[in-house]
């Protein structure tokens, strides 16, 4: 295969991967962040302790985390059809990607929030701050470096998951590598695809590390 033949394929696949990753990252944060916050505040000694709610949330997260992504992807096909209307294509892949990554991100959010000292939270309570103020103005801002680090890990995981999502017709770089590299023995294209993936992951990680480090400096 010549470079002229590979180039449009690569561009298209990269666009699909980007689309899957951006949308699923968005939804992962949308669901995972509140879930992580809920895990912390409902815990014993938290701002809104509730043992039953905490156990249920913990269980949901653990189930989500223990399912292999490949299995999850197939298992949620009916749900995907319900939400997106189709089970094929880039947008259809966003549903399993989000379901796979949100519990993972929620745990990372939980870990980051637990780093915020009890002292700091109690000082805010002593100043008369309510629960929502403490979540919004103390817990999240104080944990922001850890949150960015967690988000970076999650995006990298999503890039890797999205390669598998090619299986359900989501397209993307992983799908390209499998279809051409594996099924048609186009080794060059496969190698180039892998390099592109590595570069993207590197870029995301470096960007995430830089931002996290800058936020942690204070």
């Amino acid at each position: 295969m010549t470079w002229e033949e590979m180039s449009p394929l690569l561009w298209e696949a990269t666009g699909q991967t980007a689309q899957m990753v951006v949308w699923s990252t968005l939804f992962t944060v949308l669901f995972g962040l509140p879930l992580g916050v809920a895990l912390v505040v409902t815990d014993r000694g938290g701002l809104l302790p509730s043992r039953p709610l905490n156990s249920v949330l913990g269980m949901v997260v653990n189930i989500g985390r223990s399912l292999p992504f490949i299995v999850l992807m197939i298992a949620v096909i009916p749900l995907t059809r319900l939400i997106v209307g189709t089970t094929i294509g880039t947008f259809a892949a966003v549903v399993p990607l989000t379901l796979g990554a949100a519990p993972f991100f929620a745990r990372l959010v939980e870990t980051a929030l637990r780093e915020v000292g009890r002292d700091t939270v109690q000082a805010a309570q002593a100043m008369g701050a309510g629960r929502w103020t403490i979540i919004g103005k103390v817990l999240l801002p104080e944990a922001r470096s850890g949150l960015v680090a967690g988000l970076t890990v999650t995006v990298v995981a999503l890039i890797s998951y999205s390669a598998m999502a090619g299986v359900i017709g989501g397209g993307g770089l992983g799908d390209l590598a499998i279809r051409y590299g594996y099924q048609r023995f186009e080794t060059t294209l496969m190698v180039v695809t892998v390099i592109v993936l590595i570069v993207i992951v590197q870029l995301v990680q470096t960007l995430g590390d830089t931002v996290a480090r800058r936020l942690a400096r204070h």
Binding site: G117, D119, T120, Q122, A123, A124, Q125, A126, M127, G128, A129, G130, T133, K137, V138, P141, E142, R144, L215, R217, H218
Partner: protein, 320 residues
């Protein structure tokens, strides 16, 4: 200003009951600096945290500035807390906010507007001597500077009362002195009532008007410092002026604010006794000089001599 009565706090820790406070009564008067002393685990922090209800008492009543706190609803309690400042041993500042942002936090909680916040923050930083550090982050400050930020933050709501849990314990002696001086001047100039916990005697000597000594969840001794010192058998007096254990017959004389009167030589002359001085200490406490002298009296009219000293208003204790 602070009234605590019948305060009990029982923690349930894995089925085991820990009585942190076993019925404490405490009265802190308007405008005074009240120190709470006691060994580790005596319940000092628990007591302080019950005053702004960070800890819910198991039993008892807490009232601050005439308002009974235990009966307040959630929103009312939050409003009441805005008028009770608190400073912490490890400062508990928000590391993601600048100095100005930290001081602004309680003002945001109170719902103050942007202009009002900026004005108050500038005023408060000026008050604690940190006007030039407004844009710095806590990570860039020394311990003493951090505690000044903590104090500015605690004063944001014009509190009537300031609670301090070991606020100087993490600081070196020089910095401790400057923070104590700041607290003293806030007390004098703003009429701020301060309830502070410490395990350092020199903090008590330095700035407290009154003191309570806690032990095993109870208050063992409490009162104005001068009054406690003049009380026979006071543990506080013994701790403020550590003297060696007396032998039987040794006499301990405690005097306040009269170090210049020649009582000892008078006694020697009038009663023909021999006085040997075994030990002594002279301290500035609550603005007055207080001394304790350990002496041995022999010969002459020993009993009459002791009676005379007591008559002169000195506290005379004879070891048995």
């Amino acid at each position: 200003m602070i009234d605590v009565s019948g305060l009990r706090k029982v923690y349930r820790d894995r089925g085991r009951e820990v009585v942190a406070l076993g019925g404490v009564d405490l009265r802190v008067r308007q405008g005074e600096i009240f120190g709470v002393l006691g060994q580790s685990g005596a319940g000092k922090s628990t007591l302080l945290r019950c005053v702004n209800l960070l800890e819910r008492p198991t039993e008892g009543a807490v009232s601050v500035a005439g308002q009974e706190l235990t009966s307040l609803g959630r929103a009312e309690l939050r409003r009441a807390r805005q008028r009770i400042g608190m400073i912490h041993q490890h400062f508990a500042l928000l590391s993601s906010r600048t100095v100005a942002g930290n001081v602004a936090f309680p003002l945001e909680v109170m719902g103050a507007g942007r202009a009002e916040r900026a004005r108050r923050v500038a005023e408060l930083l000026e008050l604690v001597g940190l006007a030039d550090k407004a844009g710095a982050y806590p990570g860039q400050l020394s311990g003493g500077q951090k505690q000044r930020v903590g104090i500015a933050r605690a004063l944001a709501g014009n509190p009537a009362v300031l609670l301090s849990d070991e606020a100087t314990s993490a600081l070196d002696p020089g910095t401790t002195q400057s923070i104590l001086a700041l607290l003293r001047s806030l007390n004098r100039e703003l009429g701020l009532t301060i309830l502070l916990i410490t395990h350092e005697m020199h903090v008590v000597k330095g700035i407290c008007d009154s003191v309570a000594v806690m032990r095993d969840g109870l208050i063992e001794e409490a009162g104005g410092i001068a009054e406690l010192i003049a009380r026979p058998g006071s543990r506080l007096a013994a701790e403020l002026f550590p003297l060696p254990d007396p032998a039987p017959g040794d006499v301990t004389i405690t005097f306040t604010g009269r170090a210049d009167e020649p009582v000892v030589s008078e006694v020697v002359r009038k009663f023909d006794v021999d006085v040997s001085i075994l030990g002594g200490a002279l301290e500035e406490v609550a603005g007055a000089s207080v001394g304790r002298l350990r002496v041995r009296l022999a010969g002459g009219e020993r009993v009459a001599a002791l009676g005379y000293l007591a008559e002169r208003g000195l506290l005379v204790e004879e070891a048995r």
